[in-house]
């Protein structure tokens, strides 16, 4: 696996792995750092040794190890220590691939929690589920990068401090919670259509993107044939 294909695989799988790591660590910053570490290792090793047969499992294991390393380094903090033990103990759950899509859905509901302001909900979703950089999100919101950086860190802090849970709400709660999620998805999709930098559109809405140029070309070719 080389170049673009490698980057694309890492981006897509990295996003899924991040949602799982956030569930396990309960700490978005820690999870982002651990997944970033794992991706860096993959970028170094995969071109040399070949990509693993199950990239997501490889990245999850690598990110989990890096998260534990980071937690051990901060082990003087008792809450972190407990989180690390929790992370170690629940070995079983790490192997359940069925939970991955569910983790992303869970994370979406966390990002769109009504305790967070609507613009922050969209920004957090773009960051954690679409893998956009703070710079790209700031461009989309027409604000300065440090401003957006502060908004995102404040939101992450609130999630941690106020303990906004990572879970899909129960059925009877959905009527209250779903509109915020749908509104956020709508805005995320819209931002995806208005590329603000490079391949942003493809990253935000890979399956929703239309390719008018290709479609027209194909049609013309078919008529000629």
């Amino acid at each position: 696996m080389q170049g673009d294909a490698l980057a694309e695989t890492l981006r897509i799988e990295g996003g899924r792995v991040l949602a799982t790591l956030i569930r396990w660590t309960g700490d978005i910053d820690l999870a982002e750092d651990a997944v970033q570490d794992a991706i860096l290792i993959a970028l170094e090793r995969w071109p040399r040794d070949g990509a693993p047969s199950n990239p997501a499992a490889w990245l999850t294991t690598a990110a989990r190890r890096r998260a534990l390393d980071r937690l051990r380094r901060e082990a003087n903090r008792t809450t972190k220590e407990r989180a690390a033990v929790h992370l170690l103990d629940d070995d079983e759950n790490w192997r359940q691939p069925a939970g991955v899509g569910h983790d992303q859905l869970r994370l979406l509901f966390t990002c769109c929690h009504p305790a967070l302001a609507p613009d922050v909900q969209v920004a957090l979703t773009l960051r954690t589920l679409c893998g956009l950089t703070t710079y790209e999100i700031a461009r989309a919101f027409l604000v300065a990068e440090p401003t957006m950086g502060q908004r995102i860190s404040r939101a992450k802090r609130k999630i941690a401090m106020a303990r906004i849970p990572y879970r899909v709400p129960e059925d009877h709660e959905l009527p209250d919670r779903l509109p915020a999620v749908l509104a956020t998805l709508y805005v995320v999709f819209t931002i995806g259509h208005h590329a603000v930098s490079g391949q942003l559109d493809a990253r935000v809405a890979p399956r929703g993107r239309r390719r008018p140029a290709g479609a027209v070309g194909g049609g013309a070719h078919a008529r000629r044939a």
């Binding site: 003087n76 903090r77 008792t78 809450t79 972190k80 220590e81 929690h113 305790a115 401090m161 106020a162 303990r163 906004i164 849970p165 879970r167 709400p169």
Partner: protein, 124 residues
Amino acid sequence: MPRYAALIYGSAADENNDVAPDAWAEIMAQYNAFGEEAGAAGVVGGGEALQPTSTATTIHVTGGKRGGDVVTTDGPFAEAKEVLGGFYLLDCADLDDALKWAAQIPGAWLGRVEVRPCIDFSQG
């Protein structure tokens, strides 16, 4: 178990007007009902109802730590249309749980309730 403070705000105008006795009795009945239900669920870790802000005294120590000059002012820290009337300490697993209970405090429909996580100094 994480602890949240549910700070109950009501309008300053209401605070200064005498509430009719039967209306007051109805409000107290609502609070008692909440206290019983939340108390039975083991959620309430404490709480107080406060006398009106007209009884408040605000102090500020100037010129250093303990031993500085104490400046005493009549009234609440900030004059506002909505004032803190009381609070509960709620022991809840997460914010959703805390918000669920806070929404059952009569202050939530008589005024507003602000939910704030408390700092746990026993943890890093």
